[in-house]
């Protein structure tokens, strides 16, 4: 029964073509039906039927996402057939579906070996292709010797494919290098351009990961660079030299000439020309002749109509921009023109180049023009523009900005661009400037006021971070404000309900600061002689707004009270808490305001409370360096990863006594708590009243001796007169960028304000990842192969010692000692002489491994 079924299946098996035709007529059910058929057919013993089934399955898997991993064993069966057609199908299926997890992987080792040793070159090449695609560590190891043999095969085709496979084999099994490297290098001298192309391609990849190891091969590559006429080969060799020259500057000089030769050729292919230019720009930029020639050539690219060439021209310019800005400036018309191109890629490149040309003198004008562009552009590009302005201006602590008043108002302007989505960055910069640049505070407050009072902005969620910064700045630097009442009113306007609760909390807190400031001014103005505050305020120059009459202060207090009353019942604990605290404070001092009008008693409770609060806000908040946290030393014996179970006990201890404390003292301890806004979730989950958490904090500090960065409050008692707010919301008429924008304008007379900078330090060093160990062993093997066996062991020991410091990528140009020697004769494996200079016992970060550069090139 079974056999007759199988006969039927064999005879009437649907061919691949039938399958495809069927698929075109109707899909999903057809697929599942076909799959069933395939499952049946593939189990049969007849290899032809099996292979057709496998082929159909491969098709479905490749183009219709059907899983074929279950057929792995059958693929192995098919591959064992002696018919080439079957083998092909089998190998194709294997290459397509096998992975490191395939259980039957072990079964194909022998098959591959057999085919690799076959006299039929086509079978060999099938096997090589398969190995290249699926090679695992084991396969690579087991088949190294076969690959080695094939690297020397008389048939060029086979050799070429073997070379292609070598890369993967090296990757998976670095020890293969010892066996194969020599043959690989021998192939560099081949005259067959296709073979050469393959070999050079392999070295191109290898060099990209670890250039230093291949430096000794530079003479071979040089010969190819000079002699070859094949574009593909030359492009790859150029890439190799780009990597080598960046670590060995002397190479750059030698290579510059042939590169120029290629560039000067009459009918040089554009791809080769571009690669030459790119090589010059990235690694040979200190070679004057080459650089100048490359710049001339890149101009041709920029002027070409072909958008690809234009784009590549711009792209190449951006490579050379950092070191040789003149090249970009020479081509500024092209850059400006590209800003209005339709292709978003081209526009983006042009934008980056434009920003590279920005300097102190033209930043104002360029920003103006760019902002106009932004308004006219689609949201994506608009935000790109805004983003690049923000980045360029804030670089190196706002190095490029001279006029901070202008910049702060520009930030405010950005907030009003309809598509603006850079709220977070703008928020950060507003606050950052506030803390770093004293002289900008006035403008900052002015801009903040404009942002706060506009009810329309509250609806735009992208602007919320900016509003948050505006609120903070208004509260923190309220002394610069012309009308604190206005600020408080803006902070408590009804539409603030559209804000997320965390920002609302900031608003309330700022309103509180405004309140404290105003009260302080009011109370001190009543005592011109006794209060030190008043003395300072009267002595500090132009007219002060000390004019808080009884009416104005009481209306302020009432307004705040009214505004906050509605919030005292909100669900969010943070908002509720702050609202209630402020209300409590108001309740405490309110009756005294009226009294103040009549009595002269300066020692009232209210007065003391206000003076205390002012004191709390009196210190200047400064900028915090990004590396500050790392600089806080961990005390001895502290294990931050330790489970905080012990905290439970503290909580229990503390909970009892605290329940009895009275309400008024809450206000006092609340103000000592952290300034930063707590997370929504955190706030809602930690329900105990503030007093508990602050004393828990104190307790925790005591126990672990931790000192958080103490928050400092701002200086509150100088009230200065601010100018009228004249930030207009209209934009000046749009003007295009002209090349004149780049001419240096005369300097502004106002001196640049002081910007507080901190030792920010670099980004934390990236730790080398786990895979580096594999690459390390590879480069070790390569170096061994090149230097000779004896050296190998010594190098290995040395490398073990400095293992942690080894980075995969190229070291900085830091070659202190490289020894000269004669060219190593590889054919008879002469040993290289030992050099003590080679031993570098570096414990610290960068390890320089001096590598010899043969005399030929120096």
């Amino acid at each position: 029964m079974a056999s007759s079924n199988s006969l039927m299946d064999s005879l009437f098996q649907r061919s691949l073509e039938d399958l495809i035709k069927g698929l075109r007529l109707g899909e999903s059910t057809f697929i599942s039906r076909s799959l069933e058929e395939i499952r049946r057919e593939i189990k049969l013993t007849d290899l032809s039927t099996k292979s057709v089934a496998l082929q159909k399955l491969s098709y479905l898997a490749a183009l219709h996402g059907v899983d074929m991993t279950w057929a792995a064993f059958h693929a192995v069966e098919v591959v064992s057939s002696s018919r080439f057609a079957h083998k092909r199908i089998g190998y194709h299926a294997i290459a397509q579906s096998f992975s490191d997890q395939t259980p039957v992987m072990l079964l194909i080792t022998n098959q591959l070996r057999k085919d690799l040793n076959s006299s039929n070159e086509h079978e060999v090449s099938l096997a090589l292709e398969c190995l290249a695609r699926i090679g695992t560590d084991d396969l690579a190891r087991d088949l190294t010797s076969e690959v080695f043999t094939l690297l020397g095969s008389s048939k060029a085709l086979v050799r070429k494919k073997a070379i292609g496979v070598v890369l993967r084999v090296f990757d998976k099994y670095p020890d293969a290098v010892k066996v194969c490297f020599k043959r690989l290098v021998e192939n560099l001298e081949s005259s067959d351009p296709q073979l050469l192309s393959a070999v050079v391609g392999v070295f191109c990849e290898l060099t990209a990961k670890d250039p230093r190891s291949y430096l000794p091969l530079a003479p071979e590559f040089y010969k190819i660079l000079v002699d070859s006429r094949n574009n593909w080969v030359l492009i790859k060799v150029l890439k190799i030299f780009a990597k080598l020259a960046s670590i060995e500057p002397r190479l750059a000089k030698k290579v510059a000439d042939p590169v120029c030769e290629h560039m000067r050729k009459q009918n040089v292919g554009k791809s080769l020309l571009f690669e030459c230019i790119r090589t010059v720009f990235s690694s040979l930029s200190n070679q004057e002749v080459a650089l100048k020639l490359a710049v001339v050539k890149i101009r041709e690219f920029l002027m070409d109509d072909d958008p690809n060439l234009k784009y590549l021209g711009l792209h190449a310019l951006s490579i050379v921009a950092p070191k040789h800005l003149w090249a970009v400036l020479e081509n500024k018309e092209a850059v400006v023109k590209a800003m209005s191109d339709e292709d978003p890629n081209v526009k983006l490149e042009a934008l980056h180049l434009l920003m590279a040309m920005v300097n102190e003198d033209n930043v104002t004008e360029i920003s103006r023009i760019l902002m106009n562009y932004a308004l006219k552009s689609d949201p994506l590009f608009c935000n790109e523009i805004i983003g690049s302005i923000l980045v360029a201006c804030s670089r190196d602590s706002y190095e490029i900005i001279v006029d901070f008043d202008w910049y702060v108002s520009l930030l405010g302007e950005m907030a009003r661009v309809p598509h603006c989505q850079r709220g977070k960055e703008i928020e950060h910069q507003l606050i950052d400037i506030g803390t770093r640049v004293k002289d900008a505070k006035l403008e900052l407050v002015r801009v903040s006021r404009a942002l706060l009072i506009d009810p329309a902005l509250l609806g735009n969620q992208f602007l919320h971070p900016i509003l948050s910064a505006a609120a903070w700045a208004s509260g923190e630097y309220v002394e610069f404000s012309k009308s604190p009442y206005e600020i408080a009113e803006a902070l408590l306007q009804p539409r603030t309900c559209l804000l997320p609760d965390s920002i609302r909390a900031i608003y309330i807190y700022s309103a509180f600061k405004v309140l404290v400031f105003s009260l302080g001014a009011y109370f001190s103005s009543q005592e011109p002689t006794s209060s030190p505050l008043a003395q300072e305020s009267t002595s500090s120059g132009p007219s002060m707004v000390n004019g808080f009459t009884y009416n104005s202060i009481s209306s302020l207090v009432n307004m705040i009270e009214l505004g906050l009353c509605s919030l005292s019942g909100t669900i969010d604990v943070e908002v509720q808490e702050r609202a209630k605290n402020v209300l409590g404070f108001i309740g405490m001092i309110k009756h005294e305001i009226a009294e103040k009008a009549t009595s002269q008693n300066s020692e009232t409770e209210a007065h003391r409370a206000i003076a205390f609060m002012e004191d709390v806000f009196s210190e200047e908040l400064g900028p915090v360096s990004s590396t500050a946290q790392e600089k806080v030393p961990l005390p001895e014996g502290l294990d931050l990863n330790e489970n905080l179970e012990g905290l439970q006990e503290i909580c229990r201890e503390v909970l009892e006594p605290m329940a009895e404390s009275d309400y008024s003292s809450d206000k006092v301890s609340f103000s000592v708590a952290k300034l930063r806004i707590r997370d929504q979730e955190e706030a809602s989950s930690s329900l105990p009243p503030p007093l508990e958490s602050s004393s828990l904090l104190a307790e925790h500090r005591k126990r672990h001796g931790l000192y958080y960065l103490s928050s400092q409050k701002s200086d509150d008692h100088n009230d200065r007169d601010g100018n009228d707010n004249n930030t207009s919301n209209e934009y000046p008429p749009a003007n295009e960028i002209s090349v004149d924008s780049f001419k240096p304008k005369k300097k502004i007379s106002k001196p640049r304000p002081v910007v507080v900078k901190l030792d920010e330090g670099d980004e934390p060093k990236r730790k080398p990842d786990a895979s580096s160990s594999n690459d390390e062993s590879l480069s070790r093997a390569i170096q061994t192969a090149l230097m000779g066996k004896g050296k190998g062991k010594e190098k290995e020991k040395e490398k073990e010692r400095v293992k942690e410091n080894h980075e995969m990528n190229v070291d900085t140009e830091n070659i202190e000692q490289s020894s000269r020697r004669e060219k190593k004769n590889k054919k008879n494996g002469e040993r290289s002489g030992k050099r003590s200079s080679r031993r570098q016992r570096g414990k610290e970060a960068s390890v320089t491994k001096p590598v010899e550069v043969p005399d030929l090139l120096l």
Binding site: L16, E17, I20, R24, Q55, S58, Y59, A62, L63, G65, D67, F84, A85, R88, I89, H92, S99, D100, H122, L128, E129, A132, R133, L157, K160, K161, G164, V165, L167, R168, D171, Q194, S197, A198, G201, V202, E205, L206, A208, K209, N230, W232, I235, K239, G269, K270, S271, F274, E275, R278, P307, N308, K310, Y311, L312, E342, D343, N345, V346, S771
Partner: protein
């Protein structure tokens, strides 16, 4: 994302090759990096979306995740190659063109249907052309000769 970091560990020039029509159907997909089926689908979808909307006057290179896709449209088919950011775009454009020329030679004025019905042959050609993500043969003549040899064996 894990797949991206995986990609960058392998030193390959070409990550994958896709042939897709205007509607987004994949006619040929060859991956030189291991990817799950679902990831492959995602990739194919994203690449299609990237290239299908671009005007013919735009450049033939687009950024794709942390790599680059070099593409060209021939009639109703998009040929897309995913390569490293640092690779030479113009050379790969030529590579695509070479591939198309060879297909044209083989199928005499190749059309999409030819590719659909002869997908195994297309893969065969591709394998002669590119091995393990590296371009290994750039001579049209050589590939054609080779293919005719292989045909005889079948």
């Amino acid at each position: 994302m894990s797949e991206i970091s995986f990609w960058s560990n392998l030193s390959l020039q070409i990550r994958f090759i896709l042939l897709q029509n205007r509607q987004g159907k994949t006619r040929l997909a060859k991956y030189y990096v291991p990817l799950e089926e679902s990831e492959k689908h995602k990739v194919e979808y994203e690449v299609h979306r990237l290239v299908v909307n671009r005007d013919s006057k735009f450049t033939n290179f687009v950024e794709f995740r942390t790599h680059k896709v070099i593409y060209r449209r021939y009639a109703g088919l998009f040929f897309s190659l995913c390569v490293d950011i640092t690779d030479n775009e113009l050379a790969y454009l030529e590579c695509i063109h070479l591939f198309v020329e060879i297909l044209d030679h083989f199928f005499s004025n190749v059309c999409e249907l030819d590719l659909v019905f002869n997908f195994h042959k297309v893969y065969l050609i591709l394998d002669e052309f590119i091995l393990a993500g590296e371009l290994q043969e750039t001579s049209k003549r050589a590939i054609i000769e080779r293919m005719s040899e292989l045909e005889k064996l079948e």
